[in-house]
Amino acid sequence: MILPFIVAGLVLGSLFALSGVGMLVLYRTTGVLNFGYGALGAASAMLAWQLVELRLQPVLAYAIGILAATALSLLFGFLAGPFLATVNTLTKATATLGLALFILGIMLFMWDDKARTLRLPTDTIGFSIGTRITVTQLICLALATAIVIATSIYLQRSPTGTAMRALASDRELASMLGIRVRRVELLAWAVSGALGGISGLLLSSQTRLEPVFLTFIVIPVLAAVVVGRFRSLVGTLVGGLVIGVVQAVSSAFPSTSPFSNATPFVVATLVILYLQRRKVVTIEVAR
């Protein structure tokens, strides 16, 4: 019976895609590939869990969790943005590792290694079509698709979206044309942080609520972004779903099961190889 695996794969894949969209919006606007993205999601989930434990209204706790991820992302963008704008892409990406380790360190300091679960009210409502599907899982799928469509339309149609795309092609030129570069960049940091917060909450409910684990989930997310060639939102969605489904389905068979966790790397490598198929390879000889 393969259906439960496909469903589980689609759900996890849609969450990779949702995170991927957040990373992509930021990358396309600011050129920053945020490795701290998983940590933002983890912080959102851990904070929401703590607030629920303190008997806060769950919905309010989730909202504060998402807000905190947004605020953290915005704060980093505000403080580090001007410096990051002047360095190359690789340096930008490396700088975000600092953000990841900083947030991870704080989380490990505040929360011990005991078992935790984030129980969304929608986890217990579900129906069966050969396998059990919960409302949380439906939300994951619907949200990922909706956000990809909405973001695509927003980037195409709205003035801010146009400004974001302008920034992506040429930051200097865009600022000369009167686009408020800082403002648009901060917006991208905020949107990206919010998406990170939302996916962090959903990922923790569907996988594990552990700071280290959630921080490093940025790796399969990155693979989805690679499939989208760092450009395409739809490509990222497809990439996320493919990775999720291949990973889950390959885990169903004893012969492929031990390798299922390598799926993100395999898919990303295949896509990179395919995209490079007609490029001239130059080999520099060191003197």
């Binding site: 504060i64 807000l67 078992a115 129980r119 579900g126 396998t131």
Partner: protein, 435 residues
């Protein structure tokens, strides 16, 4: 205009962050809610119980624990420190206070080896008490053995912690914990078809899984499946499917608490609990676990390597009261804490026998090795050290089940039937370490 917007955005961000941090700083109440002592600070019977602070020359005692890196075992040395503080307030070791501290190896075996070498080289360190390193027993033991330094370890997890000459853990370890769950299932007549779940980690997960298989083979129990997963696994559907297909009547999970909680959440999502008896080793026995896995798991069974934290009994009461009086309010009151406390108490009892003028590493090592027949209500059977290449004195544990979200006592002590304990049991008798 744009500068003002950026500033207000920063103010907003900082405000939210501050509010969020403040609200998250409230102590984790789930950890320490149900264990509190009834003895006041000046009535605590620690060491000589004189009520007079010790002022002599300090005796240096150390420990290595994994406190960061994703695993936090520091509750063992924290409890040891609390007990030693209490001893120092009550006459110390015949007038000499214990100068106790522990160091964090941060889940890095290289660091463990460095710390161990540091203790070994420092002659003023007479012994180690309440250690709890998750990864470094083998490398640490190599250093200790060269320097004739011994450790009454609070918590050991991998195999190496139980097969070392200079390390003797107070806890029973995951292998005994798992085998005793199997023995409990056998007693209850629920061991017709057992499925075991664990980690594929070398020297730990594989060692426990082998233990279950060895016991099962020796006792004619049918193990219908063994699934050892990667510690980073996220997808539990294949596992749930395999358990269903195997026709298992009971499941033994030997995973860390957070992974077990994730597995149980996936089982709940698929509504796959069925009539299967689901059990977990002592890694799940934690005050917070029941409330985290939720009402679906009422009746879930876990093993406990020491006395249940809310039980009565002289030592358990002393542990709780010492923690109240000498440890931080948010220090966990868990099995590891009990283990650290007990390690410190047994060390104190042994060292009190020595001439206070002649407390050296040599005399302390002899005193530690000489510990035998040490009884405590925290244990099921007497603990001992003894000269040997393997140490697993605690091999009898209790079982608990979740009732209304908290663990309650299910059975009293079960003696381990692990076939690999044969040489240890033989030593116990021939060297007169127990009874």
């Amino acid at each position: 205009m744009s500068a003002i917007t950026a500033k207000s955005a920063l103010a907003l961000a900082t405000g939210i962050l501050l509010a969020a941090t403040l609200s998250a700083c409230v102590a984790d109440e789930g950890g320490g809610a149900n264990a509190g002592g009834n003895t006041s600070k000046d009535e605590l019977q620690c060491g000589l119980a004189t009520g007079e602070p010790a002022t002599g020359d300090p005796i240096k005692v150390g420990a290595i624990a994994t406190a960061s890196g994703g695993v936090d075992f520091s509750s063992a040395p924290k409890a040891a420190a609390a007990y030693f503080d209490c001893v120092n307030e009550n006459g110390g070791i015949n007038g000499r206070p214990i100068d106790y501290s522990y160091q964090d190896d941060a889940l890095d075996p290289t660091k463990t080896a460095q710390l161990a070498a540091g203790y070994a080289a420092d002659d003023s360190v007479v012994g180690l008490v309440g250690d709890a390193t998750f990864i470094g027993c083998d490398v640490a033991n190599a250093e200790y053995a060269k320097a004739d330094l011994y450790s009454i370890t609070g918590v050991g997890v991998p195999q190496a912690c139980f097969t070392s000459s200079n390390i003797a853990p107070v806890n029973a370890g995951p292998r005994q914990s798992a085998i005793q769950l199997l023995q409990w299932l056998e007693q209850e007549g629920k061991a017709d078809a057992v499925f075991q779940v664990g980690l594929n980690t070398q020297g730990n997960g594989d060692w426990v899984a082998a233990g279950i298989l060895e016991y099962a083979e020796a006792n004619g129990i049918n193990i219908v499946g063994t699934e050892l997963t990667d510690p980073t696994e996220t997808n539990w559907l294949p596992l749930i499917q395999k358990i269903k297909d195997s026709g298992a009547t009971s499941v033994i999970i030997v995973d860390p608490g957070p992974i077990t909680a994730a597995i149980l959440a996936a089982v709940e999502q698929q509504d796959a609990r069925g009539d299967i008896i689901w059990t977990c080793t002592a890694s799940c026995y934690d005050a917070q676990f029941g409330s985290q896995i939720g009402a679906y798991w009422e009746g879930f069974v876990a093993n406990s390597e020491l006395q249940l934290v809310d039980a009565d009994g002289e030592d358990n009461e002393l542990w709780k009261s010492v923690m109240d009086a000498y440890a931080a309010g948010d220090a966990p009151r868990d099995t590891f804490s009990q283990a650290g406390f007990l390690a410190a108490k047994m060390f104190t009892t042994a060292v009190l026998e020595l001439d206070p003028e002649n407390i050296t590493r040599e005399s302390v090592s002899q005193a530690m090795l000489g510990i035998k027949n040490a009884e405590s209500d925290l244990l099921c059977r007497p603990w001992y050290y003894g000269e040997a290449d393997e140490h697993n004195a605690n091999h009898s544990t209790r079982t608990a089940e979740i009732t209304d979200g908290v663990f309650t006592k299910l059975t009293d002590c079960i003696d381990s039937g692990d076939p690999a304990l044969a040489s240890i049991l033989e030593n116990e008798q021939s060297l007169g370490l127990v009874g």
